[in-house]
Amino acid sequence: MRYLSLTDSDQEAMLAAIGVSSIDELFQDIPGEVRFDRPLDLEPALSEQELVAHFEDLAGRNAHTGRELSFLGAGIYDHYVPAIVDAILARGEFLTAYTPYQPEMSQGVLQAIFEYQTVICELTGMDVSNASGYDGTTVAADTCYVAKHATGRTKVVLAEALNPQVRQVVKTYAPGFGLEVVEVPHTEGITDPDDVRKAAEEAACVIFQQPNFFGCLEPAPELAAVANDAGALAVAHVDPVSLGVLEAPGRYGCAIAIGEGQGAGNYQSYGGPHYGFIAMRSDYIRRMPGRIVGETTDTAGERGYVLTLQTREQHIRREKATSNITTNQTLLALAGLAHLSWLGPQGLRELGETCMSLVAYAKDRLGLPLLFPERTTFKEFAVRAGCPAEEAIRTAREQGVHPGYALKRDYSGMEDALLVCVTEKRSPADIDRLAEVLGA
């Protein structure tokens, strides 16, 4: 078998050294009743060439963005991933290294994570970031756990305009955390601070999204203020790609900033693996879940990096840990660092501006009624298709275009609503094509 180096003579020599006469004898401690005594019912082994052919067949049956002009967003985005990201992730040292518990073996990974932590803090205006969470949904659950322990309160408030997947995951974790979840409905596509004010009494945290799931800009500073007035932690779930044009949550009163990192550096990949980010004010550093890299010196006085504040983590604190997380999303976070380094501050600002200009063009060109005409949007907006959304999608896809997400999948009263996303990968000509197939 091509992944094994063992030869027959190796096996013979090794069995002799061990003092057994067969491989079977090595398993003598396994009671007979639990021995598996038939071959595994799996398809026969494939050579590498056959393997590739099989996977090409499977991949060939998916409508990816190379085959279908796509305006799908709703939490996962088709932003341009530059070639250096591929090149960096292909380095076998990064790809195949373990978690850097032995820092002398892993200074490269540790320094890269330190740089990633710095970038996330810069984007969000926070003091400390961890080395990544699983994705943009689980970091919201993590945050509720932090808020519970920081405030002693057992209620969490979520804006209904927060990504439905994020809210579902929080609701799944909540019973085990002993938390009650309250949702605040949106008003014409944004969240009214007065509605939050009522809900935030005795809440541990208030989580809102900026831009929100509908692509609309929330009155974020006011939402943070009403949370803070109620003694709840203000938490913004943010799009990293927006943070060249939108203000950092740390500058308008948030305690914690979280989000899905995918749009910065990762391919869509049918939803994963990607990376979630969590960044906080320094007050909460000891409650941060997951790994944190810190700077120090070695015995020769040279600068170096180590995992730090490990007494928060499962391998030391066990049942009292801030989280059970061990494996995280380091490699994908490194991709994020590479992408954001490639963009630089200018590039990130231009990326945000480009998306917004394209959206303005699209709104005008499509000429369809906007679901929330009064709202400023970032890179997505909701329109009324004039027919049930799934019909509009079917008709458009027959012409090689995916027009966007059917909001009715998550929200009532939105039978004909499509969430249309325009990233820098969609040109004005692409938008013209969308207008054509939507019959606008």
Binding site: L51, F94, Y98, V128, G347
Partner: protein, 499 residues
Amino acid sequence: MKLIFEKSQAGRRAGTLPSYDLPPTDVPEELRRGEPPRLPELAEPEIVRHFTALADRTFGVDTGFYPLGSCTMKHNPRVNERVVALPGFRDLHPLQEEDGAQGAFELMWRLQEILAEVCGLHAVSLQPAAGSQGELTGLMLMRAYFADRGEAEQRKVVITADTAHGTNPASVTMAGFELKKVETDARGNLDLDDLRAKVNEETAGLMLTNPSTLGLFDEHIEEVAEIFHGAGALLYYDGANLNAVCGISRPGDMGFDIVHINLHKTFSQPHGGGGPGGGPVAVRDILEPFLPAPTVMRDGEDFRLDYDRPKSIGKVRGYTGPFGVFVRSYAFIRAYGPELRRMSEVAVLNANYMLSRLSGTYDLPFERLCMHEFVLSARNLKRDYGVNALDVAKRLMDYGFHPPTIYFPLIVPEALMIEPTETEPKETLDAFCNAMEKIAEEAASDPELLKEAPHRRPVRRLDEVKAAKRAIVKYGFDQHPDLRGERAEGETVEAQKGA
């Protein structure tokens, strides 16, 4: 080595965007970015050099032997990287309509079937993002099962082994259960008397890995299962050590009701410097209704997502899980076919060979054949020469190896937990054992050499006490402190661990 920010120069950039010649739009002033983020400013050549230098300072499985216990640092096949990059997988949006994702669904369904077969169980959720999340999911499934039977209030306690990985108790707390520990006996099995005393009608279940973190198969596993099932409780299998038993013994047949699998251990998803991973769960049919939604199901020639799951615990991660990880694991398994059993046989052979070579030189806590990993103790070196497991680990670096796990499992003093995996050739195993013997000799003749190791890495031993005290967790730009002139604080805060 400089940080990327220290190499930045204002005005440099690597990325440019297409310009569409559209009028600019405005963000309302109260929402607009004030100070720009201080992202690096470099052109492409220097970004590439920076990451190349970082890679040069990183040791991966591609570099050399990496025998961390219970981590299963096996070779990551390159063809897996080729197939995961196929546009049909890489550029597929997770909210694409079902008829546009049939290839993805078929892959997931087939992986589910394979994992059910390997585990000897009935239904699978691929959703959890990592082993820890699989553990938490499994505990949520337990709670849902008992709630469905009206026993939610009653079943409050989950029992873990004293050799358990830290994630087990951490998961128990996050799931809202109380923790109890059961002891290991002198032979390395769960102490049945201790177990019988602790299992009662308040017990929801057991969390156990088998073989244990000692690398030993529990010889009484059937009795263990009977004790829990007899009390109306469930058994949860931590799949961290599954590499030892694929095709040889199945967790479902051992009596386990819920299993999580670590795709980044047993099934070759690369570790990536800390992640990503995948932690799918396989369950007995009694637990199937509670699995996270959606599941992937087959409907004749088509595949679809089943959202109609009224008893589901909900959703533990976005979309259907870490799909790219599924692609690699499925590719790994399809390369083996039913010969997957051979993978485990060789993993166990390699470990026993190393054990036979080292048991004369180091302390052996348990007089048994091991499975895919084994634990030695360096306490003899500590007693005789004042050299401990940490010193051995650091000196191994000078010999070109990544050290094994140290100070875990907790019940073995000065523990060295070694898992070679099946992909290592005999010469590598011999070279490592030779180095371990040499280090034992050095402990006697020149202990300072070990205490000051490593000598040949980019850095010497690092001051972890200073790191925790100063908590410098990001670059401070103009305000960034220079720690180099400051006094040393000390090296280790807590016993290190590597698993």
